[in-house]
Symmetry: C2
Subunit: 574 residues, 2 copies
C-alpha cells in the first residue's frame, strides 16, 4: 500500500530535471551576471556576457545544420573560445570533442574520422597542423564527408590568419542571444567525447554523459573544497577531460577563468600576480617550471594558490620545494574514463602535526574516492577478491559509479573489456593502506612479474631518480630464462654527468636501496627516453628493445642464487 | 550514426549507480573509519562504529519484518539513535518518517495512521506523549493495525523507562554488522516522508526520493561551503527536513555530529566550547537565546561558528548583535517540499566593503538557488510571466529541479495543485532584486489585496516590531466595503508597557513609517498571539476574527480620501 502510493508519485518537469553541467552557466548568468567570468590578456567578460556568447554560439551551430548529438571538434589552447565551447556546443545539442594539441596530424585526422566530426574549430596557432590534417582527410578516398572548418583567431590581438571562410567571432556576432538551449531529453545523453592518449594502442573515444559530467563537477568542487568566487588559472589544458571538469566547475562556483595560451613560468607567475589567482590544476612537471624560473620571470605570490595535481605522483622533494613559494598542493588520481580525478588525497587535519617528510609521503598517495563514485576497490582480477589493507599487496584499481564514462565510442569490444563484473578496470596497479587511502604502484602492463613476484616499475624508477647523475629513468621487463621476467633499466644521465656513470655503479646504488629481487639486472643508457606527444614514456618501445637483451651467465647466476636464498628462507618460515 | 552509437552505450553496474545519501556513510566508514562521527555527552562513536551500528539497525528492522518501502516513524530529539536512523532505516529499504516532537497526540496519531507506519520509535522523554498517541490509535475502531513500538532509552544515562518490550540498544546488539544494504533499485524510490506543519490545513506527507535527498545534500554542503571535517552541532531538529539534509551532509564531509537533547543557551555554548564546533543550523529565534544567556551560561567562542539560519529572515539588529559573539551567519530559505533550503543568500566578496546596516539588509534577503535546482523564478500565476527584477513587483516563488519532493503521500489532488505548468508553487510571495537575489515578502495567503494593490503583511509587521512598546504583531486582511481588503493589526504589548499604547498611537507610528495605503486601519490588542506547535502564528484564526470587524465611518472615509488622492495622482501622471 505504502509501496504503491509512494512509488507511483509522478516524475514531472517540476521535480525531475536532467542533470547537465550546462545548467551551471545559466545559473551563473542569473546570479553572477556582473561578475568577471573570463580574463584573457586584455579581454574580459562577465557571466552575463559569457552566457550571451554561448547562446549565440549554440544558435550559430544550429544554423550551420549541427543537429542533436553531432560531434563538434576543437583544436585550441586555453583561450576564451575553448571555454565557451564547453557550454555552447552542448547547448546546441551537440557533443564536444576537444583534441590534444600535441598530437600529430595523422592521429588528429584519425580522431576526426572516427568521431565523424561535423565541425572542426581550429585556433589560428594550429592552422599549419590543421592543414596537414585536412590534407590527410582529403586524400583518404574512403571518406567523402569533410568537417566544416572554423578558425578561431586570437580575440585579444587578431592575426587575420584564416583556414576556410568562417571565423569564430563572426559566429558569435551573427548568433542569437535569445537562443533557447536544445533540451537534454535524458541525462544519459552524451555531452563530450575525449580520446585517450593511447601509449600502446589506438586512441579510444571516451563518451561522457550529461549526468556523469554534472556529478563529477560537483564532486571535484567538493573534493578540492573550491569555495565561492575562485580565480582559476588555466594551466591544465581544457582538452584533458574537459579541464578535469573545472570548465564547468568554475561556472558552478561563479568564479573567474584566467585563460592562458602558453604555460611558461613567466605567464603563470604574471597571471597569478595580476589576477590574484586562487586555484590551478597541473601535472607535477609544471612545478619544475615554477621552481626553475629565473628571478625576472617570477612575481610575488601574496595569498596561497591551491594546486590540484595529477597524472603522476608529485615527488616528495618537489612538494617540499614548491609549497614555501606560496602553493598548496592537493594530489589527485584519475583517468579519462573516470571523467578526470577519481581519487583525491583528502588531507586530514591530524597530519598537520607530522614532520614534513611524512606529510610529503602521505600527500604522494592517490587517496580516497570522490563523492560520486559509489565504490573504489583494489582487486585481484583472478579471484575477484579485495586486497588486504596492508599497504603492500598489489591489485588492480577498480571503480564504480555515475562519474564513470558511458563507454568507448564505436568500440563495443573495448567497452565490454573495461566493464567486467560490475566494475571499471583502470589498468592501474595499487595497494590500500590501513587507513583506506590508496596508492598507485604501476600501470598493469608495466608491472614486472618475476618468479611470481610483482615488481612495481615505478618503485624502481623512484630509486633511480634519487641517483645524483640520473636525469630520467624507465624500468621495464626483460625476459629471464628461469624467472620469466627481470627488471631492466633505461637511463638518461644529466648532461653534466654524461659518461660518468657505469652500469655497475647504478646497479650497486639500487642494491643499497632496494630489495635485491627488484634490482635491475641490466642498465641501458640513452641520450633521452622515447615519449609520446603527451610526454608519457613509451614503455612499449623500451619493452621491445629489452626483449632483444640476453643476460650474461654471471648476471643470471647472481639472480638465481638470490632467488634460491629467498625460497629457502620462505620455506624455513612455514 | 554518431547518435546511434553514443546513445546505445549501455548503462551497467560500473557506470550507473543509484544516487542515494546512504552511500555517504559507507564512504565515511571506508575512509574516515577512526574519525569521531557522533558525540553525545560522554558517548562517542567513530565512523567505523556508526556504520557498524547502522548495519545492525537495518538488519534488525529486516528481521522484524520491515520490508521495502515500509514506513518507520520516530519521535525523538537529536540523539545518536535519531542520527543513525537516517542511514539504518533506508539501508533496510524502508522510508524514514521523523515526527515533530512539538505536535500534540492527536496530530501524531493522524500521521502514524496516514503514513501506515510499521514501526514507531519513541525516545524515553516522549513516552507519556506516545502513550496518548497509542490510546488514540487503539480507540480508533477503523484502524486495526498498530505499529510496533520501540523505545529509545538515553544511551548516555539509561533511565529504564520502557514502552512495549523492545529497546533500541537491544536491536543494535542483536543486529548483524555484516548486513548488506537492501539495494536501491531506482534512485526515484522513496527515502523519507516528512509531514508539513500545516498552519491552515491537515499536515501533508512530503515524500523525498533517494535522488532528491542525495542532490540536496551535495548542494547544501556546496552552498554553505562546508569544508572537510566539520564539527556540526545539532541545534536544528533532525525532524525538520532531515536536519536540512545535514544528517547526510556531515557523513559526506567526514565530520563530527555533536548531538543535543536540549537546545538551551547553556547546552549550546557548552558544546561549542568543549567540542570546537564549526557549524550549526537554527532558526533566528535561537539567536535570542544566545544573546540573552546569562554570563554563567556562556563560554568563550575561540574560532568562528558558521550558522545557517532560515524559517524566518534574521532581523538586522539581531545579526548585528550575534556576529560579534563569534558567529558567522548565512541566511537560507526553504520548505519541506524543497528538501529544506532552496535558496541561500550566498555572500559576495564585494559586499564586505559596505556599511554594517547595508550588509545586514543584503543578508536578510533569501538569495539565490542552490546548485541542484534547475530553475527558480518569481511569477505572476495568472499570466505565468516572470516579474521584473526591480525589487518591488511581487509574484509567487516557483522552483523546478531534482531536489523538489516527489509529491504528497496519498494526496494526488494536493500534488497536482503544487505542480502546475512545470513548476512547484511555493505559496510564498517575493520579489527579485536587480542583482537576481530574491526576497520573500509574504505567504501568498497572507498577502492583503487592497484595491488591486498587494500589501505584504510581513512589511507592515516589520514596522510594528520597531515600535518600542510592541512585543509581537501580526497583520491580516479585514474586509473593506470599497477596496475589498484593508490591513488589520493584532498586537501584543511588552509586559512593562501594557495598556500604555493606544490604537491611534500605533496607527500614527505606522503613518510615519509606511506608505499610507499600507497603514493598518484597525489595531486589536491581545495578551499574546495564537501560535501552532511549531511556533508559527495562526493567521487563519486572526483572519476569522478580523472578518467580524466593521470599520467606523471615519475610518472608511480616511481610507477613501487617501485612495481617491492616489488615483487622481496616478491619472495625472499618464
Amino acid at each position: 500500500m505504502a509501496f504503491e502510493s509512494m512509488n507511483t508519485l509522478p516524475k514531472c518537469d517540476a521535480n525531475y530535471t536532467a542533470l547537465s553541467p550546462t545548467t551551471f552557466l545559466k545559473r551563473a548568468a542569473a546570479f553572477y551576471a556582473e561578475r568577471t567570468s573570463v580574463i584573457y590578456e586584455c579581454t574580459r567578460f562577465t557571466w552575463g556576457q559569457t552566457y550571451d556568447r554561448c547562446c549565440r554560439l549554440a544558435s550559430s551551430l544550429v544554423s550551420l545544420n549541427v543537429v542533436k548529438h553531432d560531434v563538434v571538434s576543437v583544436l585550441a589552447p586555453n583561450v576564451p573560445a575553448m571555454y565557451e565551447m564547453h557550454f555552447g556546443v552542448p547547448m546546441a545539442g551537440a557533443v564536444l570533442n576537444t583534441i590534444n594539441t600535441r598530437l600529430n596530424a595523422k592521429t588528429i585526422a584519425s580522431i576526426l574520422r572516427h568521431s565523424g566530426a561535423k565541425v572542426f574549430f581550429v585556433d589560428y596557432q594550429y592552422v599549419p597542423l590543421a592543414r596537414d590534417v585536412l590534407r590527410i582527410l582529403t586524400t583518404d578516398t574512403a571518406d567523402k564527408s569533410m568537417p566544416l572548418v572554423i578558425v578561431i583567431d586570437d580575440i585579444d590581438s587578431p592575426t587575420g590568419i584564416r583556414l576556410g571562410e568562417l571565423e569564430y567571432e563572426q559566429l558569435i556576432k551573427k548568433g542569437n542571444p535569445g537562443f533557447v538551449s536544445v533540451p537534454v531529453d535524458d541525462e544519459w545523453d552524451p555531452v563530450a567525447l575525449n580520446y585517450t592518449s593511447g601509449t600502446t594502442s589506438e586512441p579510444k573515444g571516451v563518451v561522457y554523459s550529461h549526468r556523469g559530467a554534472y556529478l563529477s563537477t560537483m564532486s571535484l568542487v567538493l573534493g578540492w573544497e573550491m569555495g565561492s568566487e575562485p580565480v582559476y588559472l588555466w594551466t591544465l589544458p581544457m582538452f584533458h577531460c574537459n579541464g578535469w571538469t573545472f570548465t564547468w566547475g568554475v561556472a558552478a562556483r561563479g568564479g573567474t577563468n584566467v585563460c592562458l595560451r602558453n604555460t611558461t613560468a613567466y605567464d603563470i607567475y604574471r597571471n597569478i600576480h595580476r589576477h590574484k589567482v586562487t586555484h590551478m590544476c597541473c601535472a607535477p612537471i609544471i612545478f619544475n617550471f615554477l621552481l626553475e624560473a629565473k628571478s625576472h620571470e617570477r612575481c610575488e605570490i601574496s595569498t596561497p594558490v591551491q594546486i590540484l595535481t595529477g597524472g603522476a605522483p608529485p615527488p616528495a622533494p618537489l612538494l617540499k620545494k614548491i609549497e614555501p613559494l606560496g602553493f598548496k598542493v592537493t594530489h589527485a588520481y584519475g583517468l579519462t574514463e573516470a571523467t578526470g580525478p577519481a581519487l583525491v588525497c583528502e588531507w586530514q587535519a591530524k597530519w598537520n602535526m607530522l614532520p614534513g617528510d611524512d606529510q610529503a609521503k602521505l600527500k604522494a598517495r592517490q587517496g580516497i574516492s570522490i563523492l560520486t563514485l559509489a565504490d573504489v576497490d583494489v582487486k585481484n582480477k583472478d579471484t575477484m577478491e579485495s586486497v588486504p589493507h596492508d599497504g603492500k599487496t598489489m591489485g588492480e584499481i577498480v571503480l564504480r559509479g555515475s562519474s564513470v564514462m558511458k563507454g568507448y565510442f564505436k568500440d563495443p569490444k573495448a567497452t565490454e573489456k573495461a566493464f567486467q563484473n560490475g566494475w571499471f578496470w583502470t589498468g592501474d596497479v595499487g595497494v590500500v593502506h590501513p587507513d583506506g587511502y590508496m596508492e598507485i604502484k604501476d600501470r598493469l602492463k608495466d608491472v614486472i612479474i618475476s618468479g611470481g613476484e610483482n615488481i612495481s616499475s615505478v618503485e624502481v624508477e623512484n630509486i633511480l631518480h634519487g641517483h645524483p647523475k640520473v636525469l630520467e629513468a624507465a624500468v621495464v621487463a626483460m625476459p629471464h630464462p628461469r624467472w620469466g621476467e627481470s627488471p631492466c633499466a633505461f637511463v638518461a644521465l644529466r648532461s653534466n654527468a654524461e659518461g660518468a656513470a657505469t652500469e655497475s655503479e647504478i646497479i650497486a646504488y639500487c642494491r643499497k636501496n632496494l630489495p635485491h629481487f627488484m634490482v635491475p639486472k641490466k642498465v641501458e643508457f640513452l641520450p633521452q627516453l622515447p615519449r609520446n606527444p603527451m610526454g608519457k614514456v613509451l614503455k612499449n618501445v623500451l619493452r621491445d628493445q629489452a626483449k632483444t637483451f640476453v643476460l650474461s651467465e654471471s648476471q643470471q647466476t647472481a639472480v638465481d642464487l638470490y632467488r634460491n636464498d629467498q625460497q629457502i628462507l620462505a620455506l624455513s618460515r612455514l
